[in-house]
């Protein structure tokens, strides 16, 4: 199997889906001629032409809203928000419209749009190019939110998102783009949206996380394995709606649970994970449910000192894992 970077996996998913289905097209700021500011849509303009790799005006609500209209017609738009931080002007279109179209029309209409956006920090992006925004949308039935942690998952889940008949938000960690590499099949494959994935089997402590933090947890787990601490790592992959069954199973497996997110702590995805566990497996727990997250400040600062203080990393994860194991 060829080895690909995370962003190559994204690009190849887009390309293959566009080859497979004429209705698939990408739209967004600089996605055409330039091939995207991260080059995720590189080559699509040349291969598929101006309209299927459409440079839009700088207007996120229109990118989402025009995409929603095209999706209702029967196209398969893949809209790009240049940075996840800039999805905010499109919130009304996403929450009030995309998420509610099937429901409000009693199944008469549907909205098969995919909205991709690079999220996350550790790239000197400062307050507005580093954020995790999933929590804003993770209370909106009708939406699905996918956040893959590996090139393999990125490709298989992006294909699934594009083929899904409902709106999917697809957040890609921008630091993962070139940092993470992995084997990706050349054949067409899709992975199931809505299913978490065990990334490491273990028996001492359970880590539940998603996105780039999966990578940090795996790194930390290798180190802790040398000390005889055996971590079970569940990758949520779809952060909304959550895979309750997998969460419950993973929590019960070890009875000691650490939840990790790069986002601010209060009101994050892992709050819901904690709530599910405390609702369903309270008596299986041997330790309080631990949460490791960004501090509750608006977003990570630019200066390296403060960025590092905010940003998740393997050391912070390792420390929290060890503490839990020792509980």
């Amino acid at each position: 199997m060829p080895v690909m970077s995370y962003i190559q996996a994204v690009t190849s998913a887009l390309k293959e889906e566009m080859q497979r289905d004429e209705k698939v097209f990408v739209l967004g700021e600089d996605v055409g001629k330039k091939g995207g500011v991260f080059r995720a849509t590189d080559g699509l303009y040349d291969e598929f032409g101006e309209y299927r790799a459409l440079d839009t005006p700088l207007a996120e609500s229109a990118i989402a809203g025009v995409g929603i209209g095209a999706a209702m017609y029967g196209m398969r738009p893949v809209a790009e928000m240049q940075f996840a931080d800039f999805i905010m002007p499109a919130v009304n279109q996403i929450i009030s419209e995309a998420a509610r179209i099937r429901y409000r029309s009693n199944n008469d209409w549907n909205c098969p749009i995919t909205i991709r956006a690079p999220y996350g920090g550790g790239v000197h992006g400062a307050l507005y190019h580093s954020q995790s925004v999933e929590a804003v949308f993770a209370n909106q039935p009708g939406l699905k939110i996918v956040m893959p942690s590996t090139p393999y998952d990125a490709k298989g889940l992006l294909k699934a998102a594009i083929r899904d008949n409902d709106p999917v938000l697809f957040f890609e960690h921008k630091r993962a783009y070139r940092l993470l590499k992995g084997e990706v099949p050349e054949d067409d494959y899709v992975l199931p949206i809505g299913k978490a994935d065990v990334k490491r089997e273990g028996s001492d402590i359970t880590i539940i996380t998603y996105g780039l933090c999966v990578h940090f947890a795996l790194q930390a787990a290798e180190k802790l394995a040398e000390e005889g601490i055996d971590a079970h790592i569940l990758d949520l992959r779809t952060v909304y709606p959550l895979d309750q069954e997998a969460i419950i199973e993973a929590a019960k497996k070890t009875g000691k649970v650490l939840l990790i997110t790069e986002d601010n702590k209060e009101g994050s995805i892992i709050s819901e994970v904690a709530a599910i566990i405390s609702e369903h497996c309270l008596f299986d727990l041997d330790a309080p449910i631990q949460r490791l997250a960004g501090p509750d400040v608006p977003a990570m600062p630019y200066a390296p000192t403060m960025e590092k203080y905010f940003m998740m990393n393997p050391d912070k994860v390792e420390k929290a894992m060890r503490e839990l194991a020792e509980f």
């Binding site: 229109a62 025009v66 209209g69 196209m75 429901y103 008469d108």
Partner: protein, 330 residues
């Protein structure tokens, strides 16, 4: 008979009678809904009274088989013209399971019916503008010969989505017609406190498209401008912005008391210029509408409205648990 205005536009007598009948039907259904609301039978009405001429003039200029419409909540005239039935409208007013718009999930006048090319709408105003642009983009990409048509109130033209949607359409010369139904108020707020432009159509130039302001109480004037816009759109010449000026003859909705913010003289004056009755007079004048035909229409419509009301009133609500359905594909 000398050529009259509608013949000059290429409209047959039959067609204008059909327009008249649809306007009258919209008005009568609307009036009935207010009665039902005041009788405590339906919780909410929001009304198109005073805007039927705009809506019917526009809808008849479209290809009602091919074109897609994204109407707003006052557009009963548009959806009737596009094939929604009186029963269906009443089912929606009563929030019954059989309502094709939403199965009783949405408030009345939140239209949507795929088989009739009526795009599902919501309450937050102006979100439908980018949607219509998206349909037009699909038309261009797929090389289909339809246009999309979207309406909104003049107050709603101050939302960001209006600007973003129209500019997108302008840049890509998409076949979309935007009709602002300027009824002079956004709930209580009059035009001059809403919009700094003299005319809403003054905004068109900022989106590189032609803009027109027409008398929205005259269905033929609206017909003509929409027809021309549609021709341009199909010829690849892109979008058009149209403002049709009318007046909101009722309160904003059944929850509103408009006496707080506008005086009766103003309303009465507008009632004297009611487009429905002026069109009626026009058709009578040019001999297309006879006394007999008119009373037949009135009788027929009365029956239709009664039937729709009875049918809808007796229809069942959706089961409580059906609230759980259709969040995602099933």
């Amino acid at each position: 008979m000398s050529t009259n205005r509608h013949q000059a536009l290429g409209l047959s007598d039959e067609e204008v009678l059909d327009m008249y009948r649809t306007m009258l039907l919209a008005r009568k259904l609307d009036e009935r809904m207010w009665l039902l609301n005041r009788a405590g039978k339906i919780p909410f009405v929001i009304s198109g009274q005073g805007q039927e001429a705009t809506q019917i003039g526009a809808a008849f200029a479209l290809d009602r088989e091919k074109d897609y419409v994204a109407p707003y909540y006052r557009d009963m005239g548009v959806v009737l013209a596009f094939g929604m039935t009186s029963r269906e409208l009443m089912l929606s007013a009563f929030a019954k399971a059989e309502d094709p718009n939403s199965g009783g999930r949405q408030m009345p006048s939140h239209f949507g019916q795929k088989k009739n090319n009526i795009i599902t709408g919501s309450s937050p105003v102006t979100t439908q503008v980018p949607h219509a642009v998206g349909f037009a983009l699909a038309a261009k990409m797929e090389k289909k010969d339809f246009v999309s048509f979207v309406t909104l109130g003049e107050g709603s033209s101050n939302q960001g989505d209006f600007h973003e949607g129209l500019n997108f359409a302008g840049v890509h010369k998409l076949p979309v017609i935007t009709l602002v139904e300027n009824n002079k108020y956004a709930i209580s707020v009059p035009y001059e406190k809403q919009i700094a432009a003299e005319k809403v159509s003054d905004r068109a130039i900022g989106y590189g498209m032609p803009g027109y302001t027409v008398d929205g109480t005259d269905p033929l004037e609206v017909y003509q401008v929409v027809k021309e816009a549609r021709d341009r759109a199909l010829a690849g010449e892109g979008p058009t912005l149209i403002e049709a000026i009318s007046y909101r003859l009722t309160a904003h909705s059944s929850d509103d008391d408009d006496r707080v913010y506008r005086n009766r003289e103003e309303v009465d004056e507008a009632k004297n210029k009611d487009g429905l009755y002026r069109f009626e007079a026009y058709l009578e004048e040019c001999g297309v509408l006879t006394e007999d035909a008119k009373s037949n229409y009135i009788k027929e419509i009365d029956q239709i409205v009664n039937d729709a009301t009875d049918y809808a009133e007796n229809a069942p609500y959706a089961e409580p648990e059906s609230a759980l359905k259709y969040v995602y594909e099933e």
